[in-house]
Every structure is written in C-alpha cells, then in structure tokens.
Subunit: 153 residues, 2 copies
C-alpha cells in the first residue's frame, strides 16, 4: 500500500469534519498497526473493493470526541452512544469514503462502495483481515481522539 | 429484501461449521431487527456490493460459542479473544460469504467481495446503516449462541 493511497482518506476526514462540524482535526503520524491496539467506543467500518485493490476502512471514535462532533453537527447534547450517534458515525464514514473515492479515482482506482456498519461498545478493538499492511492514523480534536485505520491488499 | 436472499447465508454458515468444526448449528426464526439488540463478544463484518444490491453481513459470536468452535477447528484451547480467535472469525466470515456468493450468483446477483474486519470487545453491538430491512437470525450450537445479521438495500 502506497502513501498516496492513504492521503485521500486523511484529506477527506479533515474536510468532512471541518465543513460539517466546524472542527479542526489534526492528524498524527501514520503508523503501521502491529497489534490491535486502537480502542474506541464507536466505530464505522466499511469494506471497499475495486478490480485493483480491496480492503477495509475503520474510523474509531472515543466517546468524548464523538459527543463533541454530535453537538456541533446536530446541535444536540448527547451523553451516551445511542442510535443518534451510531447514525452519525455511519454518515461520517459514508462521507469520508465518498470523498476518498473521488481522490482514489484520480489515481485510477475505481471502487464500488459498500454500506458501512457501525459498532458500539466500550473499548472494542478492530482487526482488519487482509494480507495488506494495516495503517493507523491517530487524529486529535480539542475534545478528544479518534483513529482512522486503512488496510488494503 | 427477499427470503431467497437470506437462505444462501444460512445454508453457508451451517455448511461451514459442519464441515470445518464438526458442529451442528441450528437456526432460529429470522427476525426483523428493530433495535440494535444482538450483543456478542466478537464479530466478523463484511460489506458486499453488486450492481443490483449492496449491504453488509455480520456474524456475532458469544465467547462460549467461538471458544468451542476454535477448539474444534484448531484443536487449541482458547480462553480469551486473542488474535487466534479474531483470525478464525475473519476466516469463517470469508468462507460464509464466499459460499453465499455462489448461491446468490445462481439468483443473478454477482457480488464483489470485500475483506472482512473483525471486532472484539465485551457486549458490543452492531448497527447496519443501509435503508434496507435488517434481518437477524439467531443460531444455537451446544456450547452457546451466535447471530447472523444481514442488511441489504
């Protein structure tokens, strides 16, 4: 997996959060994910397939981060991971992959998009099951942390 | 979503567990999933897209069920949801969707398969984010329960 492959996802999440939630998200250094270390409270996960590559993307939010994003995007105080929050995470995941898809198409990758699923549960962790390298990119917003994980083969 | 659409998944999981783990899995009545009620300890989730339909599939295992399946398939006692277990759940999810894909092709649905992701964490729950009906099928094996969730639009 090339760095050029990851950039469309990074640019897309920063853009989505800036335009939809007026939140500035600062990416940390992309890391190779050796263990299933990233833990979060709610995760959007989506599989992506093209003729040239296939894999999966996950966006894992801490409660603090997603509650802040929900407040900003929906104008609603949320204090638990309810259907409002899982819907929001599904929508964010769709918007991020939709944006990344355009960037990837410019690189010649034409992905069919599948529907995201959202997982809720305290401190769950994600394993991507492809033979490709797993890259995890930590992000910070003022309210908390979230993680983007990309794995393609 | 038609019942005919679900049957290939049911037949495939029963077949996979019977041939790979010598476990007889008994399906319960398929139910419309109104709430995100099914909880489990480890879940394989995969997105599927064809020209005619797209959606997602999740297979959620209780610890008791997957530990028994691991013992039978791998000949190994496992007592925690470690990488061995998440690899196994990823493989089972791949085999089940691979088998279902053949049955769906006979019905004229030609799916690209994406890579599964596996989620581990006590009592997590899954939300499928498509506009289609969500169907959950409970299964019993002697050691415990697991659930297959299918959502297509």
């Amino acid at each position: 997996m090339q760095v050029e492959f990851i950039n469309p996802f990074l640019e897309s999440i920063v853009h989505v959060l800036e335009t939809m939630a007026d939140v500035k998200a600062t990416p940390g250094k992309p890391q190779r994910k050796e263990e299933d270390t990233a833990q979060g409270d709610v995760t959007g996960v989506i599989g992506m397939a093209s003729e040239q590559a296939k894999g999966s993307l996950a966006i894992t939010f801490s409660s603090a981060a997603i509650f802040d994003i929900a407040r900003r995007m929906l104008g609603e105080e949320v204090t638990e991971i309810n259907n409002t929050v899982t819907d929001l995470v599904g929508e964010i995941t769709n918007m991020v992959t939709g944006g990344a898809k355009r960037g990837l198409a410019e690189q010649g990758y034409d992905f069919d998009m599948a529907i995201p699923a959202v997982i809720a549960g305290k401190n769950h962790r994600i394993s991507h099951k492809s033979n490709g390298m797993k890259i995890i990119i930590p992000f910070s917003i003022i309210a908390g942390k979230f993680y983007v994980e990309v794995c393609f083969e």
